[in-house]
Structures are given as structure tokens and as C-alpha cells.
């Protein structure tokens, strides 16, 4: 790295971004967590069979996220009200070696941060950003070394709307993720915007609003590991768009590539973007230097996908109340008979 680049990086690095500790051992691909309207169901995975282990009360879980280094599960509670206040909450569980969950804490979000649907944990495990779909806002939390959430360090409250008055009457942040420089990129379905947020000054700041095509309805976002591109899945116009991205500066550039697709999931280790379209799953290799998407394979699906979660070597696909797991090695699709009306799922 040239000195000039180093200085540029140092200047842009968010204050207080901690050096990542060594990863702790986390049970891998042996357990699954399934959220229903009032509980989390824990399963042990043995020879691809899901064996019920535990049922833990949890209100309206909408998203599961793991801490990168300690065995902690963060769950967004998609609520309009918590403790009488107009906000959602986040519940934090310790994950035992046997996969069992133990409640550690439940924290409320800021006022107006209702219906949270996404939690993003910084690569160093020091911060969590919660996207609140209902209130058009983002909350930044500290995370201590044990994985517990601290105070709300910052709130961004977005305004705006889109052309679809039924679904875009106001800002609806749907999903967010950290880049490798500490910025947060987020998809706002309500305003057709990509938001770039920063944690400079120890709080949350709105760094850039990138206006996408009117009526797009961005709902899922991913950053390429190189930090050079972002991909966005647009729910309303059913497209997948790739944009150049400068992770050092936290800026999104003009549209590079787009294709049809209803939903997407990104497998970071394989640089693979999986796109659901017309009852098929298209697997693309996402090039880090050009941003291009090269089709690797296309697999027929038995129905319309309602959720996609990337695992270590597989992808979990939800079809309403039905769940299936697709191997990314041989592309085989296996039905998982959980028989539960689930809202979110995670396999560890």
C-alpha cells in the first residue's frame, strides 16, 4: 500500500473501530434456528435431519444474526410497540455448545424505530446496526466483548417516499450490511434509495443517499468482499442491480449491471450471488474487479421462494411454510419437514 493510500484510509476509518479479536469456536452447520411468531425453535442437524432441541419464547423474530467471534445470537423483534413505547426491540441469546439458547438481554430501539427487519454486525464485532422498516430509521449500538448490546450510540431517521403509495408512503429500511471499511450500506424500500451510513464521531451519520430508479423498491443489499461493488435486490420492480462502490469513501456510483430477479442471497466465500427468478434459482459468479455477474448455473425450483438464507456450503430456501436446503456443491435440493409457519431461519 502506498503511503498516500494508507493516509487516505486512516483518515476515513471510523473512530473507535476496534481491532478484531480472534474468533471463538462456534458450532458449525450443526444447528438451525427457526423463528415463528412467538418463539424460536432450535434444531440439531444430524445427517441432514432436523431434530427439535428447544423452543424459546421470542416475540415476532424477523432476523437472526450471529456475532463474528463469540457464540451470540441477535434477534430482531418486529414490533410496533415494546413496553408501551413506539419501537421494536432486539433480543440477545447465548448459544451453548449444544446449540441451546439462553436469554441474555432484550433492549428496546429508539422511539419510532418500529418493525425492525435487519441487524448488521460490524466485522470487528464492536457495533450493531438495526434497520427499522416501520419507522424509517437506523439504530447504532455498541457491543461489548461478551457480545452484549450497550447504549444506542446513534439514530438516523430518514424521510421521503416513492411512487408506489401503498408500499412507499414513507421510508422503509429493509436491510443493511457493513462493508470492509466500517461503513454501512442499506436498502430503503420506501424511498428507492441506497443509504451509506458511517460511524464517525462515535455516532451514526447519514453519509450518502443514492437515488435508484423510481419504483425499484430495494429490499436486500450485499457488498462484494473487495469493497468495490454493491448488489441490490429490488422487490417492487423485480430486478437485481450492481453498482460501483468505494468502500474507503463510502460512495455508490452509477448503475453497472442489472438483470431480472425477485430475490437474492450472497455467498461471500464463493463470491456467488444467487438470484430467484420465475421459479428458478440462478447462480452467478460476482466478479470483484468488474462487478459483472457471470451465470454459473440455473436450477428449477418447486415454487415461489419467500426467503433465502446463505449457509456455509448451502442455501436455505423458504417456500411459504415449506423449507428446503440446496447444496452449493451438487445443487441438490432437499426438503426439510419442519412443519412450522416460520418467519426467519438460520443454520449454523
Amino acid at each position: 500500500m502506498y503511503r498516500r493510500e494508507f493516509l487516505k484510509m486512516a483518515a476515513l476509518a471510523p473512530v473507535g473501530f476496534r481491532v478484531a479479536p480472534l474468533p471463538a469456536s462456534i458450532p458449525s452447520e450443526r444447528h438451525a434456528y427457526l423463528g415463528t411468531s412467538e418463539a424460536i425453535h432450535v434444531f440439531a442437524i444430524e445427517k441432514e435431519k432436523w431434530i427439535p432441541l428447544q423452543e424459546v419464547a421470542c416475540e415476532a423474530p424477523s432476523c437472526f444474526v450471529l456475532h463474528p467471534f463469540v457464540p451470540i445470537l441477535y434477534v430482531a423483534n418486529e414490533l410496533q410497540e415494546f413496553q408501551g413505547l413506539p419501537c421494536g426491540s432486539v433480543t440477545v441469546f447465548a448459544i451453548g455448545r449444544d446449540g441451546h439458547l439462553s436469554l441474555l438481554q432484550r433492549v428496546r430501539l429508539s422511539l419510532s424505530a418500529t418493525l425492525p427487519r435487519s441487524i448488521a454486525i460490524s466485522p470487528d464485532g464492536a457495533y450493531a446496526v438495526v434497520s427499522a422498516y416501520g419507522g424509517g430509521s437506523y439504530n447504532l449500538f455498541d457491543i461489548d466483548r461478551k457480545g452484549l448490546l450497550g447504549c444506542i450510540r446513534g439514530v438516523v431517521k430518514e424521510t421521503g417516499s416513492g411512487v408506489d403509495l401503498a408500499q412507499q408512503e414513507s421510508s422503509h429500511p429493509q436491510h443493511a450490511c457493513f462493508d470492509n471499511s466500517g461503513h454501512i450500506v442499506a436498502a430503503d424500500l420506501g424511498t428507492d434509495r441506497i443509504h451509506v451510513l458511517s460511524t464517525s464521531g462515535g455516532t451514526l451519520n447519514l453519509h450518502q443517499r443514492y437515488q435508484m430508479a423510481s419504483g425499484a423498491g430495494p429490499s436486500t443489499i450485499a457488498v462484494h468482499p473487495t469493497g468495490s461493488f454493491v448488489a441490490v435486490s429490488n422487490r417492487l420492480n423485480e430486478s437485481i442491480c450492481v453498482y460501483p462502490y468505494d468502500s474507503l469513501r463510502g460512495t455508490v456510483g452509477e448503475l453497472r449491471e442489472s438483470l431480472l430477479g425477485r430475490a437474492m442471497a450472497f455467498h461471500q466465500r464463493r463470491s456467488m450471488l444467487m438470484v430467484e427468478r420465475e421459479k428458478s434459482l440462478d447462480l452467478y459468479l460476482w466478479h470483484g474487479n468488474t462487478g459483472q455477474l457471470r451465470l454459473l448455473n440455473s436450477v428449477s425450483l418447486p415454487g415461489t421462494v419467500t426467503s433465502m438464507v446463505s449457509g456455509h456450503n448451502s442455501i436455505l430456501l423458504g417456500f411459504g411454510n415449506e423449507l428446503a436446503c440446496m447444496s452449493l456443491d451438487d445443487l441438490s435440493l432437499r426438503h426439510i419437514p419442519v412443519d412450522l409457519p416460520f418467519r426467519c431461519v438460520l443454520r449454523t
Partner: protein
């Protein structure tokens, strides 16, 4: 030109809080910056900057909010409009203008000296007009002239549209009538930032008022004696106190905790014509209490009445600006006190709590009704409580943060038990929910404890009114930019 105060500024510790020193509860809750706006144009620019930056704005005029609605704003910005303090009259049409940052005492003084008129208040001198008027606005002249919000004829307010753009609106009965009505009593900080109130006319200030106070000693106060005083107070305001010739009388039964040694009934009176020529109504009222007075020792001698000009009376009761830790509750009562309520009041006012002193705790009962209860105001304003005869304000003050839990618990238990007796509606036990006895609570005395009840909006905003207010909210604040724990929810 807006002045921005950030954490590094030496003024920040003083400006990040309001009068209630309980808030912010922790440093992380505090606003990141305070923007001191000089005028309405400044406020518009500052609000746009805050919204564009994705920050949450909260608005402060006098800083008297009982709860943390303004100062609990992590990472956000407080827009301080205390400098929006115009008090003048448009020579072309005679309309009075009151900036939302006017402190009430300054308003009383300027309106009196320049124009001989007044808001129908007279107390709480450092309270800001923005919160006082938009939440209803009650004071010593309200029984004679109605609430402050009853007199408002237009509101100048900054709203934020669905695109995030700040839009100045002048709302009156013809233009944006729903927003206008909502701003007349549904509390501040739900619909926008009010910069200015207009009044086509205001009540003529009284020429003079008569003042008296009757003291009672706790030493010889039994539950029977306190019950007698409370029932006497309640029965008067339920019956005789609603007759037109009594509307110029304002009285507070200030039931201090026993550790304060005594309690009192205070009275301010003027005849409907603003004079003190005939004090028979006042004497009639005072005589009801003389049998229990400590000064008279139960004899028939009367307390002294002092007369004062209106401005001096205002100055005497303007209150001070001392900041304290406090907790407050409220009730609007349709009927006087019952023996069961009196017994609960006695129990808690004579109870000691370990680890703290309740000598600054008080159970204040204010005379109500009169002109406030003009039924036509139901449709014109957002104050639905137009049938009450007493307004209660149980409150307590203390000094040290470590006493917070004991003080707030005492008041919470007191209030809950008071409304769990024979009059309580089982579905709404613990609260003065709307019934033949009560009309809920007063939004200018907000109590976040009530959030535990899912019907808290109906308690404060009314049973049928709340749906209307939510419609206004969705139309004029579609992004819910203006919010706090007890604001109107979209």
C-alpha cells in the same frame, strides 16, 4: 442566525436538559446538538438541515416538559425556539401574535402593558407558550375565559412533507382546519414545529383580583377531617362552583405531604367584569373551610383577603425557574371526591418512605370547569375534556438521583391505588379512565407510567378524538418526524 451548541461547547451541559433534572437519564440519551433559532425563518432552515441530515428533531420552547420527550434524543438535535418571543399586535387587523418561545410571564406582562389583555392563565411564568397553548393551556382565568387554546385563531407551523421537505403552514378555521384543530390541545411535538400563535382577540385583563389562603395543620388532621375538607372542596366545584357568578374564582387545594407540616386552600377571585367590587362569592367559599382552618382554630373568624392588580398577582405567582427532579400525574374529575378516595389520599400523604423525604410532595386539586366546559369547544379544539370540575396534579420533587426510585414508586402506587377503589372501572383499574367520575388525564402533565396501559392515548387525547388526531398525523407528518413517547402515533 441559528447558534449551534455541540458537546464541546461550555453551554452544552446546561442546554442539553430542561427544568426536570431527571432527564436525560443517561449521557447516551442526550441530543448531539442544540440549535438556538433566532426567528421563524431560522427555525425553518434549521429544521430542514436536521431532517436532511437524517437526525431526529425535538423542539423546546420553555423546557418545562415533565417527561423526557425533548431531551431524550440520542444523536439528534434539539431545536430551541425560546428566542421566537414576539408579542405584538398587527395594526392592520388587530390580531395578536405570540411567538412559541415566549415565556408566559413575559407574555402576560407585554400583553397587559401594551394592550390591556391577557392569556387566560396567570401562573407558571417560565413555561413556554409553545407547549402551554398547544397542549390546552389552563390557568387562574380559565374558568372565566376558557383555555388558552380556545382563543387561538391561527397557528403558524413548520411541517415536513412526504418528500422530507419543510413546509410552512398557516392553519386556521378555513385553511388546514384539521391541523388547526389538532394544534389546539393535542399537545406539542406531534404535527410540526409551531413558530407563532395568532389571536383575533384576547380577554381583557382583570382590573384587580382578590387573594386569600386558608391553612390547615397536619398535626390535628385525621382521616375524617381530611375527608371533610376534600368533600367540601369537591362538592363546591361540582355544584355551586359551576354557576356563572363563580367563574372568576380559581382555587387550589394544595395537599402537601404531612412532613411539610401544613396544607392549604388558596383562592384568586374577580367578578366577571374583572373587578373586586363584590366579594360575596369568595367569602361564601372561604367560609366553607373556616371550620377546619388552623389560623382560626375552628372559630368563626375569617381569613384575610388581599387585593392586588392583575399584573402584580401574576408576578407573585409566576413561579421560579429553579430546576429540580420531579414526577407528575394528572386527572380530570367530573365529580367531587368520595370517602374512599379521601382515605387513599390520607394514607399516602401520611406515609413515610425509607431513604427519602416527601416534604415537597403534594396532591394539588385545581378548580376547573366554568368557561372551559363550553361544549362548542369540543368540535373546535382537540381538548375533549369539557365536563370536568376539578383538575388534579399529584406531584413530588426531590434533590438526589438516588431517590428517584423511591419517589416515583410512592407516587405510582398512590395513583394506582386511588383509581382501584369502588369507583374504578374494572377494565381500566389503576387509571382515571373516562366514566361518570373521570375524564382521563391532561397531556400537558404527561406521565409515561400510563404507557403500561394500551388505552393511554384515549386517557389523554379522548376516546373518539384519537382516531381524528391520527388522521391529521398521517397527513401532516407522514414520516413521523415529530415524535416522543406519548405523541400521536401514525
Amino acid at each position: 442566525m441559528t447558534v449551534t451548541v455541540t458537546r464541546k461547547d461550555p453551554r452544552y451541559p446546561a442546554l442539553r436538559r430542561g427544568h426536570n433534572l431527571r432527564w436525560p437519564l443517561q449521557d447516551a440519551d442526550a441530543a448531539q446538538r442544540i440549535l438556538l433559532c433566532e426567528d421563524a425563518e431560522d427555525a425553518e432552515i434549521a429544521l430542514q438541515q436536521v431532517v436532511t441530515a437524517g437526525l431526529r428533531p425535538t423542539v423546546r420552547s420553555g423546557g418545562h416538559c415533565y417527561e423526557d420527550f425533548v431531551v431524550n434524543n440520542p444523536g439528534g438535535a434539539i431545536l430551541d425556539v425560546s428566542a421566537l418571543s414576539r408579542v405584538d399586535r398587527d395594526a392592520s387587523n388587530g390580531t395578536f401574535h405570540l411567538g412559541s418561545g415566549v415565556q408566559l410571564w413575559n407574555g402576560y406582562e407585554a400583553l397587559y402593558k401594551r394592550y390591556g389583555v391577557t392569556l387566560p392563565g396567570g401562573v407558571c411564568g417560565t413555561v413556554g407558550a409553545g407547549g402551554h397553548i398547544s397542549g390546552g393551556g389552563y390557568g387562574p382565568l380559565s374558568r372565566l375565559h376558557g383555555l388558552s387554546c380556545d382563543w387561538v385563531t391561527a397557528v403558524n407551523i413548520l411541517t415536513v412533507d412526504r418528500h422530507g421537505k419543510v413546509v410552512p403552514i398557516r392553519a386556521d378555521a378555513q385553511n388546514h382546519p384539521d391541523l388547526f384543530r389538532a394544534c389546539r390541545g393535542a399537545g406539542g411535538a406531534s404535527f410540526g414545529l409551531i413558530t407563532d400563535f395568532e389571536f383575533a382577540t384576547l380577554p381583557v385583563a382583570p382590573r384587580e383580583v382578590a387573594l386569600a389562603r386558608v391553612f390547615f395543620s397536619w398535626n390535628d388532621t385525621t382521616v375524617e377531617r381530611l375527608t371533610g375538607i376534600l368533600m367540601t372542596f369537591g362538592q363546591y366545584w361540582e355544584s355551586r362552583g359551576q354557576e356563572r357568578d363563580t367563574w372568576g374564582m380559581y382555587s387550589v387545594l394544595e395537599l402537601s405531604h404531612r412532613s411539610a407540616g401544613q396544607f392549604s386552600v388558596s383562592v384568586q377571585f374577580c367578578n366577571p367584569d374583572g373587578t373586586c367590587r363584590d366579594l360575596r362569592v369568595m367569602w361564601e367559599y372561604l367560609d366553607l373551610f373556616s371550620q377546619w382552618s388552623s389560623e382560626t382554630g375552628g372559630s368563626t373568624s375569617r381569613p384575610s383577603i388581599k387585593q392586588s392588580d392583575w399584573l402584580n398577582a401574576c408576578a407573585m405567582s409566576a413561579g421560579n425557574a429553579v430546576n429540580r427532579r420531579g414526577k407528575y400525574k394528572s386527572t380530570r374529575m367530573r365529580r367531587g371526591f368520595t370517602p374512599a378516595e379521601a382515605a387513599t389520599i390520607y394514607k399516602y400523604l401520611t406515609k413515610d418512605v425509607e431513604g427519602t423525604s416527601l416534604h415537597e410532595a403534594s396532591f394539588d386539586a385545581h378548580s376547573y370547569g366554568g368557561a372551559v366546559n363550553r361544549k362548542e369547544r369540543l368540535e373546535q379544539t382537540a381538548v375533549p375534556q369539557r365536563d370536568s370540575i376539578i383538575k388534579l396534579q399529584p406531584l413530588t420533587y426531590w434533590e438526589k438521583p438516588e431517590e428517584d426510585a423511591a419517589q416515583t414508586k410512592w407516587l405510582a402506587q398512590f395513583y394506582e391505588e386511588l383509581y382501584s377503589g369502588p369507583n374504578a372501572d374494572p377494565q381500566h383499574a389503576g387509571t382515571p379512565y373516562w366514566s361518570k367520575h373521570y375524564e382521563g388525564c391532561y397531556i400537558n402533565y404527561p406521565d409515561a407510567d400510563m404507557l403500561q396501559y394500551n388505552y393511554w392515548p384515549q386517557l389523554y387525547y379522548g376516546e373518539s378524538n384519537y382516531a381524528f388526531l391520527q388522521t391529521v398525523k398521517r397527513r401532516y407528518d407522514p414520516n413521523n418526524v415529530f415524535h416522543h413517547a406519548m405523541s400521536v402515533r401514525p
